[in-house]
């Protein structure tokens, strides 16, 4: 009996601190996002007035929010396709072919993932510098004339963000797929090549189907994370107000003191990401092949 009392006390002491912190700093703020989206709160006083769904009504007519969501969708589609195409391609090559220096490439490709987005923004400010920038000088070299592209201007800014985001993500996903592709048994490829299947056929008929579960999970995850990463990149790389994505729009409303409105935007983006990942999950459903 004493033992059981001691046991309960021990469990309580172990679990309580984590639960309390989790509740205060994650559960409560999450509930508050939804609650506050129905209220209007002044910038200087904490008084809140209930406005029902009015914030949402205004939001869906806000041209800035709509263009921010369009930018978000553009980034999700382009960054996902480009990153996954190259990551799968390179991972497929690196695991199937016996190459020298595999580990070297692995180490290099992973580097962008350990850098802060602020650092990446700094590196790319040197890449995109219009005069004497890295990219323009390389382009000038190949074009044989002076190229002066304003990479961070209104017209180019989304392309610049896409390049930086792909640069950051590609290595991480490549290393991840290499790990799962390495688990595909080698004798499958051997018998396939005896049957006369070429590299491309092997990739599409053995490698891809066998790691499909992994691709599916990472794809769903990548879409959610792109919504967040797009915010980090835009906040660090883009001059204020030049181009917004969903979450940076939310943050700029917070800066303007429109807290209720900002949270309504947060709710919409959250529901959007939820629906999108559910949709992707459905569309990519296949019969699972066992190894």
């Amino acid at each position: 009996m004493r033992r059981s009392k001691e046991r309960s006390r021990f469990i309580f002491l172990c679990v309580a601190p984590a639960t309390i912190l989790f509740f205060i700093f994650m559960v409560l703020p999450t509930l508050n996002v939804f609650r506050m989206s129905l209220f209007e709160r002044g910038a200087y006083s904490p008084t809140e007035t209930f406005v029902g769904l009015n914030n949402f009504k205004v939001l869906f007519q806000d041209a800035k929010f709509i263009s921010a969501m369009q930018n978000t969708i553009l980034l999700i589609v382009v960054v996902t396709i480009v990153t996954f195409f190259f990551a799968l391609l390179f991972a497929g090559i690196l695991t199937r072919e016996k190459l020298k220096g595999q580990n070297f490439f692995r180490v290099i490709f992973y580097i962008p993932n350990i850098l802060s987005v602020v650092v990446i923004a700094g590196i790319f400010s040197a890449v995109y510098k219009p005069e004497n920038g890295m990219l323009n000088s390389v382009l000038s070299f190949f074009a044989g004339r002076e190229v002066m592209i304003l990479w961070k201007d209104q017209q180019m800014v989304m392309i610049s963000i896409i390049i930086a985001m792909v640069w950051q993500a590609i290595g991480y996903y490549m290393v991840m797929y290499m790990a799962s592709m390495a688990a595909v048994p080698a004798d499958l490829y051997e018998s396939a090549s005896l049957d006369g299947a070429g590299r491309t056929a092997q990739f599409f008929q053995i490698t891809l189907p066998l790691i499909w579960t992994n691709i599916r999970t990472t794809l769903t995850f990548f879409i959610i994370s792109t919504i967040n990463m797009a915010f980090l990149f835009v906040k660090a790389m883009v001059a204020k107000g030049m181009a917004d994505v969903g979450l940076s729009f939310m943050y700029s409303q917070k800066d303007a003191g429109l807290y209720g409105y900002a949270m309504a935007a947060g709710v919409v983006i959250f529901l959007f990401s939820f629906l999108l990942s559910a949709m992707v999950n459905r569309v990519t459903r296949r019969d699972v092949l066992e190894m």
């Binding site: 172990c14 989790f22 409560l28 904490p46 090559i93 580097i111 590196i123 040197a126």
Partner: protein, 294 residues
């Protein structure tokens, strides 16, 4: 390895190498360029960007460290990162241990909650956290006469640790659950209490996953800037390194002090790069378990 490998035509192989080297160059050159640029004099930035530095102009680092306050930001970042890591370990280790190895009422509910927490991203909840602390400050000001929740490194560390809890507990629980129960039973028979068993027997066995936890969370705390920027917003207050760098970047757009900017960049990324070089094997292996984080 197998036959397909031996059959590879040289042309195809050369093509693969070219593609791989191109990607490696695309990644390594911009990073290396910043390192070289950090020792260039300001006048050198108006010429060919591919010229090597004329000399080692260390003054950039001195200026970044002192004049641009990167030195004190660095100290702040070290404090916040160390504090949040310590707090995270103290809170998450016992919780993960109990949640994965003890049967008690509410365990399932708690596990589900922490799992759901994996899907809550801090970018969504940073505004409510900010408002909560702001209201708390207003309350403290009327009762105690001084506000101390915003612009406080310790509070920032608590927020970091709290928001890292779901991922950390998820990872640790997965590891704890694989250990056989015999260890605890033997310890109990020898008369050890629950706490002693946990600290002396279980935690040492969990060392590999604890190291993984420290690595991943070190990188995310050191590099984080949205929470830090929001909760440490006072113009005169302390900042962490990434936020200081961000301000430096914005200031640089008008004053064109390129050398200081690139020296600042090096100061922020050097610790993570050194750590990466030391533990790169661990990190690239560990990422298969940490695949949920990005």
């Amino acid at each position: 390895m197998n036959k397909t490998v031996k059959k590879s035509e040289p042309l195809f192989k050369a093509f693969i190498y070219v593609a791989l080297i191109t990607l490696a160059v695309l990644i390594i050159v911009p990073v290396a360029w910043v390192f070289l640029a950090s020792v260039k004099q300001n006048s050198e930035f108006y010429g060919n960007p591919w010229a090597l530095p004329a000399g080692f102009y260390w003054q950039n680092f001195v200026n970044a460290w002192n004049a641009a306050s990167m030195g004190s930001y660095m100290v702040n970042s070290v404090i916040v990162t160390a504090l949040s890591l310590a707090l995270l370990l103290v809170v998450a280790l016992p919780a993960a241990y109990c949640l994965s190895r003890f049967q008690f009422t509410g365990r399932k509910l708690l596990n589900t909650c922490f799992m759901a927490g994996l899907f809550i991203n801090v970018n969504y909840i940073v505004v409510p956290i900010f408002l909560m602390l702001k209201d708390g400050d207003a309350f403290l000001k009327t009762t105690l006469g001084s506000a101390m929740l915003l612009n406080n490194l310790f509070v920032l560390a608590v927020v970091y640790a709290s928001t890292a809890l779901p991922f950390t507990i998820y990872l640790l629980s997965g590891y704890f659950a694989t250990l056989p129960h015999d260890f605890e039973e033997a310890a109990y028979i020898d008369g050890a209490g629950y706490g002693a068993t946990m600290v002396r027997i279980i935690f040492p066995m969990a060392q590999p996953s604890i190291i993984t936890i420290i690595l991943f969370n070190f990188l995310s705390f050191w590099n984080e800037y949205i929470i830090s920027m929001t909760l440490m917003a006072s113009a005169t207050g302390q900042r962490t390194l990434p936020v200081g760098l961000l301000n430096l970047m914005q200031a640089q757009q008008s004053s064109a002090e390129y050398g200081i900017l690139y020296a600042g960049l090096v100061l922020v990324m050097l610790p993570t790069l050194i750590l990466y070089i030391c533990v790169q094997k661990k990190l690239t292996q560990g990422m298969t378990v940490g695949g949920l984080k990005g």
